[in-house]
Amino acid sequence: MLVLSVTAGIFLVVGGLLLYVVIRYRHRAGDANAHQEPPQIYGSTQIELSWTVIPILIVVMLFLATTRVILSTQNAPKPADSLDVTVIGHQFWWEYRYPKLGIVAANELHIPVSDPKHPTPTYLSMSSADTDHSFWIPRLAGKTDLIPNRVNTMWIDPQAPGLYLGQCAQYCGTQHAKMLLRVYADTPEQFAAWVAHQQQPAVEDPSASKGRDVFQHNACISCHTVAGTVATGRFGPDLTHLASRDTIASGAVPNSAANVRAFVDNPANFKPGALMPAMHLSQKDLDAVTAYLMTLK
C-alpha cells in the first residue's frame, strides 16, 4: 500500500509537470518573437541537488519498509501446530507428500483452514523432479520456485475455507499452461475426514477386476502407484484415490468417466505434449480400465 501510494504520488507529480511543460512551453507560430531562440539555461546545482536528494530519501524509506516485510515473511517462527507438506513439481503435474500423515496425493492439495486465534499454517518444502516450476496461488501467497537439487520452503495460512486456484508460474515445457493448481482449504472436520480416507489403501471393487487386470498387465504400473496393489510406479501421479479428486490431468478437465477414458486413450486429447504416452488399448480394455479407475475412490 505504501509502495502504491508513493509511486502513484510520483506519477501524479512528474506526469503533471510533463503535461504542464508540454502545454505551457509549446512553440506558438503567432508569437512576436516566434523566431527567436529561448534563453539558454545550462543547469543549476541547487535544483539538481534537490532532485537527487529527495529520491534518495524516498528510496531509503521504501527500502526500510520492504526489509521489514521480507524479514517478517522469511524469518517467521514456525508454530507447533503447522502441517508439513512436501511439494514435488513434475512435467506437468504436482505431487504432494504428507510425511507425518503417510499420504501421497497429486494435483489437488488439501490443507486445513487456519483460525487466526489458533493458527495452523501449512509449511511447504518444495523441489522438482525435472525442470524448474513455480508454485503460485495468488490469493494465498507469493510464488516460490521449485528447482531440481534444491529445497525451497514457503508457508501458506488460509483464513477462509474454500478452493484456491493457481498454476505453475515458471515455464517448464510444452504443457506449462496446463499445470494447474487447486488448493482446498478444508474445515478441521473435513480435513480430518480427508486424511483418514487418503490413508486407506485402494478400494478393492470385485466388479472392476477385469479393468484391474488390464491396468496391471500394461505399462500403467511402471509409472503409477495404486497403494495395496502391484502398481508402484512413481513417474506419474499416484492413482490410489483418483476417483476422489475433482479434476484430472492436473486440473485440465473435470474428473468424469468420459474424460478419464479419453485421457487414457490419448493424453493429447487434453494435453498435447504430456509425458504419458497414448496407451493404444482396445475399446473393450479402455472401458474396463476406465471402470476400474473410477472405483478408486
Binding site: H27, E37, I41, G43, E48, L62, G142
Partner: protein, 560 residues
C-alpha cells in the same frame, strides 16, 4: 549552407547508375561506418517485422480462452523466437546501427577506429540471426516438435539439457547467441576506441555530445555483460555435447548457476538497450525545445552511475528462487538505488523542456511519449523492486507489461523518434510528417491498449508463457483488449515502413541541417560523403553549430 542542396527534385548523381551486382559488391565489402550502420538498421528492421509478426500470432492465440489457433509447441516456439529476435536481432543491431552511423559524424571523425572489425562484427551478428531462423528448417525441438527453439528466451536450465530438449533447436539458439555476442563485443570495442581516440580537435570529453558519452558507457557495459553470457553458452554446449554437468541437474549440476550467468547479462542488457534510447533523447529533446540540455555534467554522471549500479541488480530476477532474506534485501536496495540516476535524467529532460519553445515534430512527439512511458515503466519497476510485491507478480503478465513498457514504450518509441530525426541525414530526404503523425497516434493508441491493460491479468494471476488459459478465470475481456492493441501497432509499423520507402524516393530534399540543430553531423551534407568532412572540424564548445549560428552569444563563452 544551402549551397549543397540542388534546385531539382533529385539528388546529385555522383556516378552513373551501376549494375545491381556492383552495388551489392560495394555493400558486402564495405568498411564505411555509414554503410555498415545502415546495414545494421536495415537488418534490424527486417527482424522487427518478423518479431512483430510473431507477437501478433501470440496475441491472436491468447485473444480468447482455450484457443486452438496454434499448438502448444508452436506457441512456445513463438515466444522464444519473439524474445530472442527482439533483444538480440532487433534491439542490439538497430542501436549499434545508429551508433555506428552517428558517432564518427558527431565527434568529427572520418570513420570508426577499426573499420574492418566493424564489418566483421556486423556480418557475424547477421549470420547469428540467420542461423537462429535456419533452425526452422534444420532442427527439431522439444517433443519432436520440429523447428525453432522452444525453451524461452532466457532458456532456463535444465530445460535446455538433452534430456528435456531433444533435437538441435537449442543448439541453434546457443550458437546464434554466441555469434551475435562476438559481433556485439567487437562493435563495442570499436565504439570505445573511436570515442576515446578519434575525436576532432577541441572536443574534450566534457564537450562530447551526450550520445557519444552514453554509447561509451553502454559499450563498457557490454564487455562486462556479454562475456558471462558467452561463457554460459559455451558451458551449455559442453553440457549438451561433451557430457559436462554445469547445468545438468540430473547429474548434480545447478539450475541456479545458469540463472546467475543469464541475469548478470540479462539485467545490464536492459540498460545496454535503454541507454542508447536515453542518448537519442539527449540529442532530440534539446533541439526541439530550442534549448541546451539541462545539467550536462549530471547527465553524464547519471549515465555512468546507471552503468555501474546496473551490474549489481541482476538477482532481482530471482526473488522467487528462495534466496536468503539477506540476499533479497541487498538486491532490493541495489535495484531501488538505480531509480535515483534515472530520476535525475527524467528531471533534467523536464528542465530542458521548461522555458523552451517546443516544436511538435513527429520526432519530438515520440520523444515526449517516451518520457511519459518511461516514467510509468520506472514506477512499476520500483514496485517490482519490492521483493514481497515481486513474489506475487514475478513471472506474471504484470512483468510482461512492465518490461514491454521499457522495451516498446521507451526504447522503440525513441528509436522511431531517432528515425524521424536522422532519416534526413541518412537519406537526404525528409520523412513525411503527415504519415509520421498517423504513425505516432496509431502506435500510441495501440501501445496503451496493449500494455496498459496487460498489467491487470498479471495482478489477477495470469502467468506468462502459457499458450492458453481457462475460461473461468475471467481474463478473457482483458486479453481481448490487449490483442486488439496489437493490430493498431502492426498497422502503424507498416505505415512507418511505407513512409520510409516513399520518402526515400519522393520525400522533400532535406538539405544539410533541416532541424537547425547544433551537433557536427548537421554540418556536412545529407547524406554525408564517404569521407564525412572535407575539412576535419575544430570545436570550442558542446554545441559547435550553435556557436556558428549565434556568434554574438556562443556556448564557448560558458565553457570552462
Amino acid at each position: 549552407m544551402a549551397t549543397q542542396a540542388p534546385a531539382t527534385a533529385s539528388l546529385p548523381e555522383t556516378a552513373p547508375r551501376r549494375l545491381v551486382l556492383e552495388v551489392l559488391h560495394d555493400w558486402v565489402t564495405t568498411v564505411d561506418h555509414k554503410k555498415i550502420g545502415l546495414m545494421y538498421i536495415g537488418y534490424a528492421l527486417i527482424f522487427l517485422v518478423v518479431g512483430g509478426f510473431e507477437a501478433l500470432l501470440i496475441r491472436v492465440q491468447l485473444a480468447v480462452p482455450n484457443n486452438h489457433f496454434v499448438s502448444p509447441q508452436v506457441f512456445n516456439q513463438l515466444f522464444t523466437m519473439h524474445g530472442t529476435t527482439m533483444v538480440f536481432f532487433v534491439g542490439m543491431p538497430i542501436l549499434f546501427g545508429f551508433g555506428n552511423y552517428l558517432i564518427p559524424l558527431m565527434i568529427g571523425a572520418r570513420d570508426m577506429a577499426f573499420p574492418r572489425l566493424n564489418a566483421f562484427s556486423f556480418w557475424i551478428s547477421a549470420f547469428g540471426g540467420l542461423l537462429l531462423y535456419f533452425s526452422y528448417l534444420g532442427a527439431s525441438g522439444l517433443y519432436g516438435a520440429g523447428g525453432a527453439p522452444d525453451v524461452g528466451w532466457w532458456a532456463y536450465a535444465p530445460l535446455t539439457m538433452r534430456a528435456f530438449s531433444h533435437g538441435h533447436s537449442t543448439d541453434y539458439w546457443t550458437l546464434a547467441i554466441l555469434l551475435s555476442g562476438i559481433g556485439t563485443i567487437g562493435t563495442s570495442a570499436n565504439i570505445v576506441a573511436t570515442v576515446i581516440s578519434m575525436r576532432c580537435p577541441g572536443m574534450k570529453l566534457s564537450r562530447m555530445p551526450l550520445l557519444a558519452w552514453i554509447y561509451l558507457v553502454m559499450s563498457g557495459l557490454v564487455f562486462v555483460t556479454i562475456s558471462p553470457l558467452t561463457a554460459a553458452q559455451i558451458m551449455l554446449m559442453l553440457d549438451r555435447y561433451v557430457g559436462s554437468h554445469f547445468f545438468d541437474t540430473q547429474a548434480g549440476g545447478s539450475a541456479v548457476l545458469w540463472m546467475h550467468f543469464f541475469w548478470i547479462f540479462g539485467h545490464p542488457e536492459v540498460y545496454v538497450l535503454v541507454l542508447p534510447a536515453f542518448a537519442f533523447a539527449n540529442e532530440i529533446i534539446p533541439v526541439f525545445s530550442r534549448k541546451a540540455v539541462f545539467g550536462y555534467p549530471a547527465m553524464v554522471a547519471a549515465s555512468v552511475g546507471i552503468g555501474f549500479i546496473s551490474l549489481s541488480v541482476w538477482a532481482h530476477h530471482m526473488f522467487t528462487i528462495g534466496m536468503t532474506a539477506g540476499g533479497n534485501t541487498f538486491f532490493v536496495l541495489s535495484t531501488m538505488t538505480i531509480s535515483v540516476p534515472t530520476g535525475i535524467k527524467i528531471f533534467n529532460w523536464l528542465a530542458t523542456l521548461w522555458g523552451g519553445k517546443i516544436h511538435f515534430t513527429s520526432s519530438m512527439m515520440f520523444a515526449i511519449a517516451f518520457l511519459f512511458q518511461f516514467l510509468i515503466a520506472g514506477l512499476t519497476g520500483i514496485m517490482l523492486a519490492v521483493a514481497p510485491f515481486d513474489w506475487q507478480l514475478s513471472g506474471s503478465y504484470f512483468i510482461v507489461a512492465h518490461f514491454h513498457y521499457v522495451l516498446v514504450g521507451a526504447i522503440i518509441f525513441m528509436i522511431f523518434s531517432a528515425f524521424y530525426y536522422w532519416f534526413p541525414k541518412m537519406s537526404g530526404r525528409m520523412l513525411s510528417e503527415k504519415l509520421g503523425k498517423w504513425h505516432f497516434w496509431l502506435f500510441l493508441i495501440g501501445f496503451h491498449l496493449t500494455f496498459d491493460f496487460m498489467h491487470i491479468p498479471g495482478i489477477l494471476g495470469m502467468p506468462r508463457r502459457i499458450y492458453t488459459y481457462e475460461a473461468d478465470r475471467g481474463w478473457m475481456l482483458l486479453n481481448m483488449i490487449v490483442s486488439s492493441g496489437a493490430i493498431f501497432q502492426a498497422v502503424a509499423t507498416l505505415l512507418f515502413v511505407y513512409n520510409m520507402v516513399w520518402s526515400y524516393f519522393k520525400g522533400p530534399i532535406a538539405g544539410p541541417d533541416p532541424w537547425d540543430a547544433w551537433t557536427l553531423e548537421w554540418s556536412t551534407t545529407s547524406p554525408p560523403p564517404d569521407y564525412n568532412f572535407a575539412v576535419i572540424p575544430t570545436v570550442e564548445s558542446r554545441r559547435p553549430l550553435w556557436d556558428i549560428k549565434h556568434p554574438d552569444d556562443p556556448d564557448s563563452l560558458y565553457d570552462e
